[in-house]
Amino acid sequence: MRVAVIGAGVIGLSSALCIHEQFHGLVPSLELEVYADHFTPHTISDGAAGLWQPYLSDHGNLQETLWNKETFDYLLGHLHSPAAKEMGLFLISGYNLFMEPVPDPSWKNIVLGFRNLTPKELELFPGYSYGWFNTALMLEGRSYLPWLTNRLTQRGVKFFHKKVESFQEVSGDGVDVVLNCSGMHAGDLQPDPELQPGRGQIIKVLAPWVKHFIVTHDLKSGVYNSPYIIPGSEFTVLGGIYQHGNWSEENSAKDHKCIWDSCCRLLPALQKAKIVGDWSGLRPARPSVRLERESVRLGNLQAEVIHNYGHGGFGITIHWGCAMAAARLFGSILQEKKQLARPAGPRL
């Protein structure tokens, strides 16, 4: 039973691992292959700061809130394991700031120690009159992706550096299931007008005195268009850019100035931080995550495709819940093919 995974960002690698962990014992012939044009450290997951935090509102999409919770709980369970450091996983606390009172978020009981800010704390942030404090998790892509890659390699999963142009390309020759984790470029495989880039730019700085994340919100300008500061294990990420529909992956001097000025206003202590560099990337934004099965007719063959893309700016936050949902879809495919009862034969 051969499974082709398209995409080697956090979604592709974690879905592959989840499926292999759950099914290789039951399907001895299970062979996974990962195809991608970019591998770590060149994926969008590598550029993300790695803070576990969903958007403010789930727009009633309880499924996504559940996947976020599953991810948080899964990661929390790994916090004390010896693998945590290698995974790039650690606890972090910090501030969400608003210019007016807002309802509590869907994730208030998922994170630890969620509470409103006290007046004295708000003195730190002139211009903001309301906010939250909570403890969440960091999962740094530039550590997590290599860790996932190592786990997969140990399990015999093969990697191919190649830009896949069509499902047909990978689904012939005995591949029964395609796991489509192609993120921003899913539209190249199958048109999806709902998938749009949410361009982001960040500045990486050295500011090891910053121990908290600070995420500001401007309800008028929308998510991530307000400054944020996220301290990692090596660098601190400054951001606050979300440009819907902008496909440019070039750093913009105007965006750099906007990020730098607004973050230094937010945290004057940043003024002495050493700038390491800028980075831009495209968040694969969609009104909701596409996580579903599709039978695709390719010539006289039929392949099962599991789509798992469109995670916008919350891929790391939601990844494991989605990986497990993808694994459930895979399980149902196996049931239908009765693969769980007998060894795989060639598909006709």
């Binding site: 010896p82 606890l91 606390s93 006290t118 404090f133 202590a269 003024q271 931080a273």
Partner: protein
């Protein structure tokens, strides 16, 4: 007295901050800091510099509260300015955990730190051996940066600093009008204070930049304090010990205790071991005294005996000592005008 000459003995956090306060409250004074050690070789350099007060048994609580509040307010402003990184001052959040619920659930300083509250059940799950905990946000003064920043501020006022071992305060009476004794542990010999005793502390300074929170066991024997570049792991409280040599068995014990609070510390690198003697006393001595030898008088202001809580109250005691210096000056001016009559 146009320009009173003040000597401050000691260049740890107490000596330097007291000298700075004197230049602020008495701009006409000339202030000189004299010490056998300067940063990075003071007791203050060993300390983590966390603003979590130590309770002095014989100092009234309202006075300790006042000292802590002044210190916290002063450092809070610096932490939120562009000077923060140079001064080594930053906010840090974390947890103080207890194996059994303490008698006093609300310490006197709980409303001065930020966001103080009991830990939730979910948060306590991270500490399976502990029943109760407090979560809050406080400040940390990293040394050497903070001491170097104080030295820089002092130099900018025109104050002088000299390496000099002062064996007796009377050595200074011909050159200086007022002596301020911030000698810490050195006060034992300098002024023969038998109420002052060392409490030896050994710490590890490690590289573990993924640790973003402080964790302290309420028993004081295990703590993890993340600084700008290093995390301080501690500790010990050995009363009466004068040994400044690191003990390898103690190093192992501290590391183990801290790893059981924070397992990821197993991956910590570049372990450096340091030892300091906390200059401990039942109450901090912030007091005026006039020494006399025959007709000669020497006004002295004492500011020492801060033990485990130096950083937490340093600015408050420095302010108080500076006021006492002001009183000494008034007294000298009063007596010199009387002498003129």
């Amino acid at each position: 007295m146009a320009s009173p000459k003040v000597a401050v003995v000691g260049a740890g956090v107490i000596g330097l901050s007291t000298a700075l306060c004197i230049t602020e409250t008495c701009p006409s004074c000339s202030v000189t800091v004299l010490s056998d050690q300067f940063s990075p070789n003071t007791t203050s350099d060993v300390a983590a510099g966390m603003l979590i007060p130590h309770t002095y048994p014989d100092t009234p609580i309202h006075r300790q509260r006042q000292w802590f509040k002044e210190t916290f307010t002063y450092l809070f402003a610096i932490s939120n300015s562009r000077e923060a990184s140079e001064a080594g001052i930053h906010l840090v959040s974390g947890w103080q955990v207890f194996k059994s619920t303490p008698k006093e659930e609300l310490p006197f300083w709980s409303d001065i730190v930020l966001g103080f509250r009991p830990m939730s059940e979910a948060e306590l799950q991270k500490f399976p051996q502990h029943q109760f905990g407090q979560a809050f946000t406080t400040l940390k003064c990293d040394c050497p940066p903070y001491l170097l920043w104080l030295e820089k501020r002092l130099k900018a006022t025109g104050s002088q600093m000299y390496t000099r071992k002062v064996a007796d305060l009377w050595e200074l009476h011909s050159e200086y009008d007022i002596v301020v004794n911030c000698a810490g542990m050195g006060a034992q010999q300098l002024v023969g204070d038998k109420q002052l005793f060392p409490v030896r502390g050994q710490v590890l300074k490690v590289h573990a930049p993924w640790v973003k929170h402080f964790i302290r066991d309420g028993d004081g024997l295990a703590y993890i304090y993340p600084g700008i570049h290093r995390v301080t792991l501690g500790g010990t409280r050995e009363k009466g010990s004068l040994s400044l040599s690191p003990d390898p068995g103690t190093t192992r014990d501290i590391f183990d205790r801290c790893c059981s609070l924070e397992p990821s510390l197993q991956g910590a690198q570049d372990i450096e071991v340091k030892v300091g003697l906390r200059p401990s006393r039942q109450c901090v001595r912030v007091q005026r005294e006039v020494l006399s030898q025959g007709d000669v008088k020497l006004p002295v202001v004492h500011n020492y005996g801060h033990g485990a809580g130096g950083f937490s109250v340093h600015r408050g005691t420095a302010n108080e000592a500076a006021h006492l210096v002001g009183e000494c000056i008034s007294a000298l001016q009063g007596s010199s005008s009387r002498a003129k009559l």
